[in-house]
């Protein structure tokens, strides 16, 4: 048990260093969403509620998590392509230790993202500060697990050249199907149903509703949480299976 924990700690420390020393990952996970938060607020906040900070900041938190898919996937795909993982497979490290360490090592970045975007939002519109915002921080860690798990899965099945393309599906999905960039009231039933069953809008409204207050616990919180957690369990299960498969086929 203690050996397993020390291996997890070593792997996690290494993964965090790899991620934070990549300037591109910091630009896309922190700088770009922060720029968008400030820009979109000042351009559009008088035009529609969509861009009021109480919706925009939690929306940006969810949006920025889509980039975690790209950088988690890239880290694993590069580890595979350079035989780094093959070498580690000769060690006593178990598959779940690899997966767990990849997931845990991205969580501090999620935490920094959430705090940064809420702080920036709160400085622009102080009404954002409150207990809802504080509660939304752990909720955002939960939603981020879906994006991190998807990144682990993509990293297991794609190479470092294709990871950008396939991750853009998730980034596009989060942009278009989260409903944060445009009003959804006028959309057809078909697309609204798609948005309801996919994790993107559910992850976004989970954080938005936690910040702004929950009126209907089932509709506003429990159902979106179940949907996001369901997808998270599925992607992690498939990721573990894919990772085990890669370990057998080195």
């Amino acid at each position: 048990m203690s050996r397993s924990i020390s291996r997890l700690a070593a792997l996690t420390k290494r993964n965090i260093r790899e991620i934070v020393r990549d300037p591109l990952s910091l630009i896309f996970t922190l700088a770009l969403p922060l720029f968008m938060e400030v820009l979109f607020y000042f351009i559009f906040h008088n035009l529609t509620d969509q861009f009021q900070m109480r919706y925009l900041a939690p929306g940006i938190v969810a949006f920025s998590q889509a980039f975690l898919t790209l950088f988690t996937g890239l880290l694993i795909a590069l580890d595979r392509s350079t035989s780094f993982l093959t070498r580690l497979f000769v060690s006593e490290t178990k598959p779940f230790e690899f997966i767990f360490s990849y997931a845990v090592s991205v969580l501090p970045i999620t935490l920094v993202q959430t705090v940064l975007f809420f702080l920036a939002g709160g400085l622009i519109d102080p009404s954002l500060f409150g207990p809802g915002m504080l509660l939304a921080i752990p909720v955002s860690l939960v939603t981020s697990m879906f994006f991190i798990g998807t990144g682990i899965l993509f990293g297991c099945i794609c190479n470092e050249k294709s990871i950008g393309g396939i991750s853009s599906i998730i980034i596009t999905g989060q942009s278009v199907l989260s409903g944060m960039w445009f009003p959804t009231a006028g959309l057809g039933n078909g697309i609204l149903t798609v948005m309801k069953v996919l994790p993107f809008k559910n992850a976004t409204i989970l954080i938005q509703n936690t910040v702004n207050g929950i009126t209907d616990p089932w509709e506003d919180f429990v159902l979106p949480l179940i949907i996001v957690l369901g997808y998270t369990v599925v992607v992690f299960t498939v990721a573990v299976i894919a990772f085990r498969g890669k370990m057998r086929k080195v």
Binding site: T82, T86, S91
Partner: protein
């Protein structure tokens, strides 16, 4: 005691037999080179011995532990340096060594000793604070091989360790490998005949998954009536020579 004992080892992929009926014993402290053209089965053999790939049939034991029945026990005894450089890119040389040391459960004192040993054996101390991705190819390969020694393996697998290196970097690595001889059993695969000639106690030649020859350099030259290992290798591979 044989460090490695291979009995009728076989690996099949769908419609290809990568390794066919391999029998071989390698003594403790020996440096054994496995030669062969591309697709001969060298890397597959190494991967089976390193527990990375399961044999289709047959058996191999590392210091008496079975690669099929006790892979975890085998992992405690071995390490591997693959063809490709396998280092953590954004970590410094020092952090790479610390990472592998922590991964195998070393204490702080042991980690300090490991770093000292690796800096001395590989000359990596002068680039200790440099990020691995910023090192030259030769230094990266040195680090990659050095990391395989962190676990203090009884058996070390070096899969084409000097592939793609310039002649100076290759010679430097040879000197490093020479210093490791006798302190552990080393199995090396290579395409460079002069490398096998310079480093090996014994040489094995593989073709199409079969081991065609096993013996010393002198036995190889004597058997083929040639003057150097390269011509002897060509003679064995083209003639499909027989093992003694």
């Amino acid at each position: 005691m044989a460090a490695i004992k291979i009995t009728n080892l076989r690996k099949e992929y769908k419609d290809v037999t990568a390794v066919e009926g391999l029998d071989l014993e390698i003594e403790e402290g020996e440096l054994f080179s496995l030669l062969g053209v591309n697709g001969a089965g060298k890397t597959t053999t190494i991967k089976m011995l390193a527990t990375l790939t399961k044999p289709t049939s047959g058996e191999a034991e590392i210091m008496g532990r079975s690669v099929t029945k006790d892979p975890a026990g085998v992992k405690e005894l071995i390490d591997i340096s693959m063809q490709e450089t396998a280092v953590a890119r954004k970590l410094t040389v020092e952090e790479n060594i610390e990472f592998y040391s922590e991964l195998c459960g070393q204490t702080k004192t042991e980690i300090a000793e490991t770093k000292k040993y690796i800096y001395e054996a590989f000359g990596l101390g002068k680039v200790a604070k440099k990020q691995a991705s910023k090192l030259s190819g030769g230094w990266q390969r040195k680090l990659s091989i050095a990391l395989a020694l962190v676990t203090k393996p009884k058996v070390l697998f070096l899969d084409e360790p000097t592939l793609g290196l310039d002649v100076i970097a290759r010679r430097e690595l040879w000197n490093t490998v020479r210093t490791l001889k006798k302190s552990m059993t080393i199995i090396l695969t290579t395409h460079y005949m002069e490398e096998a000639e310079a480093l090996s106690d014994r040489i094995g030649v593989m073709k199409d998954g079969r081991l065609l020859f096993v013996g010393t350099k002198e036995e190889m030259l004597g058997k083929t009536g040639t003057q150097n290992v390269e011509n002897a290798f060509i003679s064995i591979v083209e003639g499909g020579g027989q093992d003694e």
